[in-house]
Symmetry: C2
Subunit: 297 residues, 2 copies
Amino acid sequence: MNIAIVGFGNVGRAAYEAVQAAGDMTVACVVGSPRRAAPDYVKDIWVTGVENVHAHGKVDCALLCLPTRACPAAAETLLTMGVNTVDSYDIHESIWDVRCQLDSVAKQHGASAIVAAGWDPGSDSVVRALMQAIVPRGITYTNFGPGMSMGHSVAAKAIAGVANALSITLPTGAGVHRRMVYVELQPGATLEQVTRDLKADAYFAKDDTHVMQVDDIAALQDVGHGVQMTRKGASGAAHNQQLEFSMRINNPALTSQIMAACARACAKQAPGAYTMIEVPVANLLPGTLEGNVRGLV
Amino acid sequence: MNIAIVGFGNVGRAAYEAVQAAGDMTVACVVGSPRRAAPDYVKDIWVTGVENVHAHGKVDCALLCLPTRACPAAAETLLTMGVNTVDSYDIHESIWDVRCQLDSVAKQHGASAIVAAGWDPGSDSVVRALMQAIVPRGITYTNFGPGMSMGHSVAAKAIAGVANALSITLPTGAGVHRRMVYVELQPGATLEQVTRDLKADAYFAKDDTHVMQVDDIAALQDVGHGVQMTRKGASGAAHNQQLEFSMRINNPALTSQIMAACARACAKQAPGAYTMIEVPVANLLPGTLEGNVRGLV
């Protein structure tokens, strides 16, 4: 499979590595930002603009490693060109709408798309759906962290007086989270004012939020993250069924690896758009179905 | 959906409860053994012989709660009648062959079958395949227990001098297990001789096996079981990705609940036979796809 990496930030660079490490796919091109120079190691396959995706050979599937809100439009353009797409669109409440929008474009052009293909939404969604199916009554808690939240870090950076910020998500159990926000202040800003404004922001207002001043955000950077999902409930007449799934992972590496796996699913699914719970897990794997059933079932 | 419960042992009785608890299915009949009397609460829907499955109304799907080796033949008969089937066939090395055998029968008769639909093989297989897809290099360990192993208990009962037996599987880590075997002895048998013969049996020869004499096996009975699966490996260029899935569950209740969920998948899949890794998890759930994507993705 010839893969295009669209966007070359944390996730895009990790996607390049995931595709390089896979035996059944090749990076055909990197679609980079016109405002950035191509790093040396991808200079020969660098293009700008998704419409130029075939410049270095016909692309089968594009991994959209773009800011979430830029994904649906890029996917539409590529699907219209007949190129399969995988995105890790992560605004939970709009996933269904984006899936339906891309589904009709994909079907019109004989292509397929996997939407919301990361770890949450994504592989966690598969485990949540499986837990729900096998223990149908009960409560699932998804506990994130400890790890850096991109969305909350960006929201913290937007507060007046903040020069740079890093927001760590800490799980406190039962799906409730604490936010530890580290800030570099701009000259003249006070921690008191920044703390007050940040705690009033919609991103933080509902959570236990702690704001701390540091000299150098870069010294705190770590892309490790984690999740623990628990479900306790009843199967048939039997109560107290206890399930747990947890991960401690490099975030962009896992996200992009899942996207690469979904490129395989695109090649196997009928034209249309799908979330990961609509795709058989066997379709994410390299190798033959027989080999995978013999080895994994 | 009208469901037939085929076999009425531990799993069959639990399947009855799982179907009763589901809002979208009804027990149409129980196919019982001709050697056993029908329990009062299912007397009115009791039949013998899978060919009589439609005696109390047309059946959509049959849950085969039979000894593993009896499943393929019963599935063939039912699929030939156009009835979907779900089994929890659990001999790992023959699953692919059974799946292929049933696949052609199912396709010929416009029916569908889910094969090996329990928790291992079954839901664990889905998680194993997902772990493999998202962390492609590394090792997965499946650690079973503590809980009763049916297969090992039956093997222990077959040893000369054993009146009754119960074999508990204990995980000792990295996919290695210890067997704790409790035996009631027949008059004249010695624990020394039974221990020697049992440890030489193929079921036990490779594991650390402890044999203990008890007066009453029935006093030890508990259908609780568990599993812990771990995978540590690399996604792209990032090593030390750590994943874990664990359950502490009532074994027949979980097995039969998974079978009931797979009855839904049968209704949604194209004719053919499938293992659970070939089925989207969304197809296991009641409700609409939109509702499930909005609620679980």
